[in-house]
Symmetry: C2
Subunit: 343 residues, 2 copies
DNA sequence: CATGCACGCTCAATCGATTTAGCAACATTG
DNA sequence: CAATGTTGCTAAATCGATTGAGCGTGCATG
């Protein structure tokens, strides 16, 4: 039966509780924040106050508490989107691990908009976040610089920057392995292997460039010359991938490297209406359980989110992370067999 | 070139800026929060202070600001998971719409854990959130009661409660329509239609009950007797759905109503190893673009997230929402054709 | 009986920004 | 020249919780 007993609708403060308990605000404060034994408050008083606090529906005002204390325990994260499993897993795991360390996670989604990324970072700094994790940001260095001036630590995740330590996937290795797999399967199923298509991502994006590098190397290894006009980097949205494919002809059997599940949506939508499906083999960077069931999908490169966040929190906990640190973690290649049965 | 010019590493405050500018903290405060014209500060002073603030990398301390002001502009949301498109879309749209209304959204993910749901709510109240949106909570009324005592408005989303206005889908109608579709397609493809399976969700969960009601009605309409042992409600995780199916035999052609995409993952994983796939037709509550490509999938009931959030923010903006309000919005039925080609 | 100490508490300053009240200087008006 | 108004600012209280310093009481000890 929580309730403030019919008096004002304002939230009760320690002063209200002190008055009701016939005690002092400082006693009430220490009782409610657990330091009362250290301050030699009797358990009789403590119990009385805690009972009253519960009756009044008291909840500490963290605004006031944090203003006075030196630490906020807030750890912020900006994340581009929640529309795929990769970022969903990052956000979820981040919150879980932050809580496990008695930190208060605040995650905010910035829609891949550079301005919003910066504004959100500024907001989190104003909120007294002690650490800011910058995930997949367009311009992480701008944010790192601003945060450094404000005395807030930043760590880059997914996309690296040069002004704060970065934790990311081995995009090169993951893409190379995935490309190898696509080539092998295409050869296996069709005999001949024309150069693969590369679809999705942005040409100034570090991860896209690294994946493209892995893609090239795997072509070289296989003795294939890749054709530059099959490299399409229109951004990450399904619509962009779809649009980039409009008007193209897939006349022969071929393999496609899809750079993110979100681009995959557009690719599949386009292919659905345009190509004989049995003449295509796909591989996709990032993991999605349903995308894995597409029979044309020969494999996915899953980024190791738990490992990435484990490293991230190692940096958070440790004294220092060097701005030049760049930690790359291997991807998990998930080959998919055509016999998986759900066709 | 933000930076505090080599002096202490502490964040600069309005007092620091005032000292540098040879002005007073109150002038600095009003200049930085935009009320300076009203307070008749000269533009000469204002420009000087703003220049210094930029140089020093000043960012307002919202903890202090909000403590003093009456309003925090924070709107909190708790959400169970980020592992599916439905909740991902909710979180994303919520943040977008909150920002458009000059509110500061704080979303936190509670893993379908009732204790965590309550703790997160308590934390958001302590953060002085003015409104709390309780999404898909196990026990929304407990949270609503606590928040009411603390003077914080709550609105339920997705799962209804009795102590705060609720915005949700017409789960009954959506499930009825989806069941009709599954029955039709099963009949069309196989001739005979045995009672459908119902898989996923929790038996005490309002939405699951409503969907089951729609499921029953559609059976009645079609003159089918449904069999209770085909109703499996082991929760929402893929593993639970998988486990619930273990040991069962799907001897004849059949249709399956899957209660959420997340359960769908488990169902599909199980079916993949166990049943002749061409003897199954599925329908799934909630939308997922890749799940939509499964050839056995005859349709999905998409919840209308933009409409739900539009209604939600209507309540947020309006003076009052009645605790007994329960707004149900129609789902969008997305029938899928077997000719969609991606087989 | 004076001294010391443990106990159980209270006082008051403090965190950083906001805001009401008001002051000093100057200009304008009657 | 006095009264009044305008301009451009400052002083100080305030939001709610925290915390170092300190106070009064009771009991044990020498």
């Amino acid at each position: 039966m929580a309730g403030n007993g019919g008096n004002s609708s304002r939230r009760p403060t320690i002063y209200d509780l002190a008055q009701i308990a016939g005690s002092s605000p400082s006693a009430v404060s220490s009782i409610l924040n657990g330091t009362w034994k250290k301050r030699r408050i009797s358990s009789r008083t403590a119990e009385k106050v805690m009972k009253i606090a519960a009756e009044q529906g008291y909840a500490v005002n963290l605004q006031a508490s944090m203003l006075r204390r030196e630490r906020s325990h807030i750890i912020g994260m900006i994340v581009p989107k929640y529309d795929n499993r990769y970022f969903g897993a990052i956000a979820e795991k981040f919150e879980e691990m932050a809580r496990a360390r008695d930190l208060f996670p605040v995650v905010t989604c910035t829609q891949r908009d550079p301005e919003l990324e910066f504004e959100a970072a500024r907001e989190l700094v104003s909120y007294q976040a002690e650490t800011l994790v910058v995930t997949g940001a367009t311009d992480p260095d701008r944010i790192a610089e601003f945060c450094a001036a404000a005395g807030v630590r930043t760590i880059n995740l997914d996309l690296p920057g040069s002004k704060a330590p970065s934790v990311l996937s081995d995009n090169f290795g993951g893409a190379r392995d995935l490309t190898r797999l696509i080539i092998t399967r295409t050869k296996q199923d069709f005999g001949a292997v024309p150069p693969l298509w590369f679809i999705g991502g942005r040409s100034h994006d570090h991860n896209t460039m690294e994946r493209l590098r892995g893609f090239r190397i795997a072509h070289q290894e296989a003795g294939l010359t890749l054709s530059e006009d099959r490299i399409l980097m229109p951004g990450y949205s399904p619509d962009n991938a779809f649009a980039a494919l409009e008007g193209r002809e897939f006349t022969q059997s071929c393999g496609i490297f899809v750079n993110s599940t979100i681009s995959m949506e557009g690719v599949v939508r386009w292919l659905t209406g345009n190509v004989a499906m049995d003449r295509v083999r796909l591989g996709c960077f990032d993991w999605d359980p349903f995308a894995a069931l597409l029979p044309q999908n020969v494999g996915m490169a899953e980024q190791d989110v738990p490992a990435m966040l484990a490293r991230l929190f190692q940096i958070v906990s440790s004294a220092e992370g060097n701005p030049s640190d760049r930690i790359e973690l291997p991807c998990i290649l998930r080959p998919l067999s055509p016999q998986r049965g759900f066709i």
